[in-house]
């Protein structure tokens, strides 16, 4: 197995590191913030992006090492497709049960 060229190696490493940092930050937000609606933003965005970046890194790595099938792309797509839905449902649940998450009234309704 021949070694990856430096640039590809660097890109893969950078993608991995970036992905890890985003995921870490997202989880940090989840653990640290004090209010559910704030906490929700971290994982839904940062973690998803973190996964996406590492998946792309993996794709690139296996592309060079002869195992490219594009399957990681599939997972990426899937994660990006489903993360908003999960978040959406979680917010709806939170709005029902969390006092701090009660939304304002719709502008076009009166009483």
């Amino acid at each position: 197995m021949n070694a990856m060229p430096f640039w590809l190696d660097a890109v893969v490493a950078a993608l991995l590191v970036a992905g890890a940092v985003f995921a870490l930050v997202g989880a940090w937000g989840l653990a640290k913030l004090r209010d559910f609606m704030k906490r929700l933003h971290g994982p839904t965005k940062a973690s998803t992006l973190g996964i996406g970046l590492s998946l792309i890194a993996s794709m690139a790595w296996f592309a060079w090492h002869g195992g490219f099938t594009g399957r990681e792309f599939l997972v990426t797509l899937f994660v990006f497709l489903t993360a908003p839905v999960s978040a959406h449902l979680l917010v709806k649940a939170a709005m029902r049960s969390e006092p701090s998450a009660v939304p304002p009234r719709r502008p076009d309704t009166r009483d």
Binding site: V25, L49, L74, P84, P103, R106
Partner: protein, 160 residues
């Protein structure tokens, strides 16, 4: 054509998926075509009919915009998360919807969730309003205006 492939989007998705999963080879190509034809047929008709897609160029542009926004928004959020919590000012925004296609609304809501510090929370039952939660914002109207112009407008062109 419609008789052979009643659900073209679905079939295409199956074929692409199959090849992505198994890699490209003659045998897998045959299987991919086979499944692409068979699976959507085996399955019942979807409850919400497939939309007609238009303007692939607009769509491609939108994808790029969204990808850029995702990265940008994440950086922003990451900084705010790492900073003191007291400097985060969340906000609810009701965004009026102009787009009618259910798929379009869904994509709009998804994009909002993935991008700038916003989360889509609820689509009203009449599908005329979208409740958005902003991670950090001061002006509700500005948020609404930005998402409408940046995403809803192109989406209205795509899902006609």
């Amino acid at each position: 054509m419609r008789a052979l492939i009643p659900h073209p989007v679905s079939s295409l998705a199956v074929a692409v998926l199959w090849l992505l999963l198994n890699g490209l080879s003659n045998g897998q190509l045959v299987l991919a075509v086979l499944f692409a034809l068979a699976l959507p047929r085996l399955l019942p008709a979807p409850a919400i009919p497939s939309p007609r897609l238009a303007s692939p160029i607009v769509a491609a542009k939108l994808v790029l915009v969204v990808l850029y926004d995702i990265v940008k928004a994440n950086l922003e959020i990451a900084l705010r998360i790492l900073g003191p919590e007291s400097r985060i000012h969340p906000l609810y925004v009701w965004v009026p919807l102009d787009i009618a296609s259910p798929q379009g609304i869904a994509v709009f809501a998804s994009i909002i969730t993935m991008t700038p510090g916003t989360l889509s929370c609820e689509v009203s039952e009449d599908r005329r309003w979208l409740l958005v939660h902003a991670f950090h914002a001061d002006d509700a109207a500005a948020v609404a205006a930005e998402v409408k112009s940046r995403y809803e407008a192109p989406l209205r062109e795509i899902f006609r």
